[in-house]
Symmetry: C2
DNA sequence: GTCTATAATAGGATAGAC
DNA sequence: GTCTATCCTATTATAGAC
């Protein structure tokens, strides 16, 4: 994360912080100006359309950054030694995409100000989750160790895994306002994954 | 739902609608006055502390109403004929708690304006879900048909079931702004529940 | 208990100098 | 490209008549 000292980036940076902590409507242009160390007029030079344009820029940047972070790699191999471990790696990668202050803030803003955004902008998380889910389902089908009857079963398994992950994301980030992943929460996820996968693994481990 | 015509209730009613659709900060007292058909001064007679007091009242009422709606009944019997059916009934009950316009609106407000609320107020959903989860775990242990090794397993199963439900609630209500439960979404939940329970049911059906 | 009128302030946005 | 000064409107909240 290169801190660009250009005023435009500075404005985005302080505005993101303010929008995340106080909300878009409660943040005034004067607050942004003061925090960015610029004057009343300068803001409208960089963002002629004012506050809304700053919001759009923040949301758009955030989505782009997370989309690339969420392009997770799943080893499609049939010789996976530990599927559970791989699932936890996937979970950690997912969590990682919301770890940096910037990611976290723009995530909060994107969810909370959804009525000010386009459907496209507010649906990004569901879309991203669905894409990972599809690739997860594919990966499950290629794992011979799993006793899955058909592609429908793989779909269901992938959906359940993503539900477990997503519940944690929503609860911790959105409701509890908790950016750090506690060992406790992670352990509970691990146990659920273990419980879920154990009965459908073939006995020849 | 008795529509009370008292001005105080009318104010709460229109404010809830406005807060849900436009957000708290973007809603002015003038909008509320106009929509409620009262004058500038009347609002401050009923709510001396202004907008924030209205918000608190709405959130508090919403939590109380949902807490009672979420006091779901689980038949603790060991002779359950169809556990899957019972899970779907639970899901429908859960969904029902957010179905009425009033419930839906105050839910949206409670999540979105969480920075203006106390931790207690914003944690209610997680707490409610956890309570249902605990009773669900207990119920699972009492069902002989399920091949659950220990209480830990029942906990995990209950957590996974609630994750499946909660993901749907968040996605549909919060992100998609979709209050009606589509048959498609419900069917996907049913399949996941089936997939989850099938392998751990004893063969002697 | 509800009204009208208005005070006091803060909001977004712009003009024009430098 | 950045500043100061300011316009215009909207905001919350109150005073005082009825």
């Amino acid at each position: 994360m290169i801190k660009n000292d250009q005023p435009k980036d500075k404005i985005i940076d302080v505005a993101r912080k303010l929008f995340a902590s106080r909300g878009f409507e409660a943040t005034t242009t004067r607050m942004i100006n003061k925090a960015a160390g610029i004057s009343e007029g300068a803001l409208y030079y960089h963002f002629p359309h004012g506050k809304q344009e700053i919001l759009d820029t923040i949301v758009q940047q955030g989505i782009e950054s997370r989309v690339s972070l969420l392009a997770v790699s799943l080893t499609n191999s049939t010789t996976v030694t530990d599927i559970e471990t791989q699932m936890m790696t996937l979970f950690d990668q997912l969590w990682q995409a919301f770890q940096s202050e910037t990611s976290y803030q723009s995530f909060i803003i994107t969810i909370r100000e959804r009525m000010l955004l386009s459907d496209e902008q507010s649906h990004w998380l569901i879309d991203a989750i669905q894409q990972i889910q599809a690739r997860l389902s594919q990966a499950f089908q290629n794992v011979e160790k799993l006793a899955l009857n058909d592609s429908q079963a793989a779909d269901n398994l992938a959906m359940i895994v993503m539900s477990i992950f997503q519940k944690v994301l929503y609860d911790e980030l959105l409701i509890k306002n908790q950016r750090r992943l506690s060992a406790d929460v992670r352990e509970r996820v691990r146990q659920q994954i273990h419980f879920l996968l154990a009965p459908i693994q073939t006995t020849t481990n």
